[in-house]
Amino acid sequence: MKNRLYTVFFALLLFILMAFPAFAASDMPRLVDEAGLLTSSEERELLDKLNEISERQQVDVVIVTANSLEGASAMDYADDFYDENDYGFGYERDGILFLISMEERDWYMSTSGFGITAFTDAGLEFLSEKILNDLSKGDYAQAFTTFAEMSDDYIAQAKTGKPYDEHHLPKDPFRLLFYLVAALVIGFVISLIVTGIMRSKLKSVHGQTAAGNYIKNGSMKLTTRNDLFLYRHVTRREKPKQQNTSRSGSTHRSGGSTTHRSSSGRRHGGRGGKF
């Protein structure tokens, strides 16, 4: 009887353990503000947002601020933080973690599972460009909010089977406004030229300043033709150095995500830098 109870209990436990990864396994909140960069109201608001997005998309969106990485690289710290705290939905541990460390002024975005699919290298580059400015200015709440909202968009896009990637980056609403202004300015310049031509048709009175029409045909004779060399001088300037930045290299990427193994052996994608 007792043995049977144990069997049932273990079967139940096994069932629960197997079923568990379908839900967020972590006890840690999705916002860990160790460095204390946010006010409590900002924190609450942001956490609500992260929770809402994560639950709805079934992909964890996590933000971590640290005072110091304690000697670890930003990538390792972020990967380990993710793995050790059991973030991520499902077997693949779908999710993304955004880490910033104040002492090193490092940031890193670590992706896992479906996060690797949704956040491609090009997508991460675009995403980080959008928030780095706010980060550098110290407007952390704004940067995190942007990160959360854009992540939401990235995940939604990836679920359509076509994640943001090289040649297929998110639309910038400002781009459209810029286009409109540019189109109008170009249109105005063109119409200024066109109406200028129309205006010039009204004017047909022009004084003559030359007498080219009255030169006798073939009357021009060139009697002196002297090209005297005076002197020369040579200047030299150094050739500009070949620029070899990661940016110019990255434009030749064919898209997709590059991945690495974390210390726990899990596969992660990501991107990091300084702010």
Binding site: K171, R175, L176, Y179, L180, A182, A183, L184, I186, G187, F188, I190, S191, L192, V194, T195, M198, R199, K201, L202, K203, S204, V205, H206, G207, Q208, T209, A210, A211, G212, N213, Y214, I215, K216, S219, M220, K221, L222, T223, T224, R225, N226, D227, L228, F229, L230, Y231, R232, H233, V234, T235, R236, R237, E238, K239
Partner: protein
């Protein structure tokens, strides 16, 4: 004080005038046509005939001379006896009473005799047609201007011009540079070579026309160019019959300044063009000596059309030989704004649509 000339038809006695369509004198009453050559002889005889009248007219002219009417002259019409008062420069007009064409011989004979005349090739009707055409294809011309268009005055005038002939000896000096660049593994080298370039030669100019009438705006007359001087005739007063004509009131010395400017510019341009193969060319010195200077006096045919709109006077001129029509037209400001902003909207819209299409793809 001065004689005037009327050409009477030897056939019926009516006053005859030059007909531009047949390039002959024609009597409007009996349709008899006369060659210009025939009239050349007839012309001189008629001048002799007038000698007697001269004394009689001097007396009446004298009164004018003392009076307030400066710059006015009066003549007596030989057909009707009416008094023709006109500008001191007038050389040909028509009698305000009987409409007969008259020519003031004193204004076109002796020292004032023009060397050439280009006879009118186009008549009043052609001038009116040309004005209508002048209005066409101009979208910014106020519609009202076109619709309400009525020509206040249209007159065929022989405008006095000075024609300048000269050959120019030109000496020019330039500073010019050539540049060459090459590079090795570390540096880019630029070698600049400096040259002193001189050019000399001569250049002939023929019959540069300069408006010799104060009344006619210079730029308007300039715009009528070119005239075809191969069709110019030796001057005969008979050509003036039926048209208005003025004698010059800007002397050749004064007009030469404008001709010189034009000669200088064209000579320099012609020689500038011979300096080739350099990266930069700067003019350092230029000197132009004019040789074989000759000035001719010519009467050139111009149709002048006058119209008033919104209290402003618009002056048009047509080359009486080639039919070239010139004259500035008023701008319809509301139409201009409509076009400007309409086009901006249309072009901007199309561009925006194209950009959006690219953006979405």
């Amino acid at each position: 004080m001065a004689t005037i000339q009327e050409y009477k038809c030897p056939c019926c006695g009516g006053a005859i005038a030059f007909d531009s369509t047949i390039q002959k004198m024609k009597c409007p009453y009996c349709d008899t046509e006369f060659d210009m050559e025939t009239l050349a002889g007839y012309d001189s005889e008629l001048q002799n005939d007038q000698k007697d009248d001269m004394q009689w007219q001097t007396a009446s002219g004298g009164e004018w001379q003392d009076g307030e009417a400066n710059g006015l002259r009066s003549y007596v019409c030989q057909s009707c006896g009416g008094e023709i008062a006109c500008d001191e420069n007038t050389a040909a007009t028509s009698c305000p009473f009987c409409g007969n064409p008259v020519i003031m011989m004193g204004q076109v004979s002796g020292a004032l005799k023009p060397d050439y005349v280009i006879p009118f090739q186009l008549d009043k009707k052609a001038a009116k047609e040309a004005l209508k055409k002048h209005y066409e294809g101009k979208r910014l011309l106020p519609k009202v201007f076109k619709d309400e268009n009525h020509i206040d005055e249209i007159k065929g005038i022989y405008v006095p011009f000075w024609l300048f002939d000269a050959s120019a000896d030109v000496k020019m000096r330039y500073k010019a540079t050539k540049a060459r660049t090459w590079s090795d593994s570390r540096y880019v080298y630029t070698e600049t070579s400096y040259f002193s370039v001189s050019r000399g030669g001569n250049l002939g100019f023929e019959k540069i026309p300069v408006d010799a009438s104060v009344k006619m705006p210079d730029d308007l007359m300039d715009s009528l160019e070119p005239f075809d001087f191969s069709k110019a005739e030796k001057f005969q007063t008979a050509y003036l019959a039926g048209y208005l004509a003025d004698k010059y009131d800007v002397d050749a010395q004064e007009s030469a300044k404008r001709a010189n400017d034009r000669i200088r510019k064209s000579s320099q341009e012609a020689f500038d063009a011979t300096v080739t193969g350099y990266a930069t060319v700067t003019k350092e010195n230029s000197s132009i000596q004019l040789k074989n200077r000759k000035v001719h006096y010519a009467l050139l045919p111009v149709w002048i059309l006058n119209t008033t709109w919104n209290g402003k006077n618009y002056l048009f001129a047509m080359n009486g030989q080639t039919g070239k029509m010139v004259g500035d037209l008023p701008l319809d400001k509301t139409a201009y704004k409509k076009w400007l902003f309409g086009l901006t909207g249309a072009i901007g819209g199309v561009l925006y649509a194209i950009l959006c299409l690219f953006y979405l793809l």
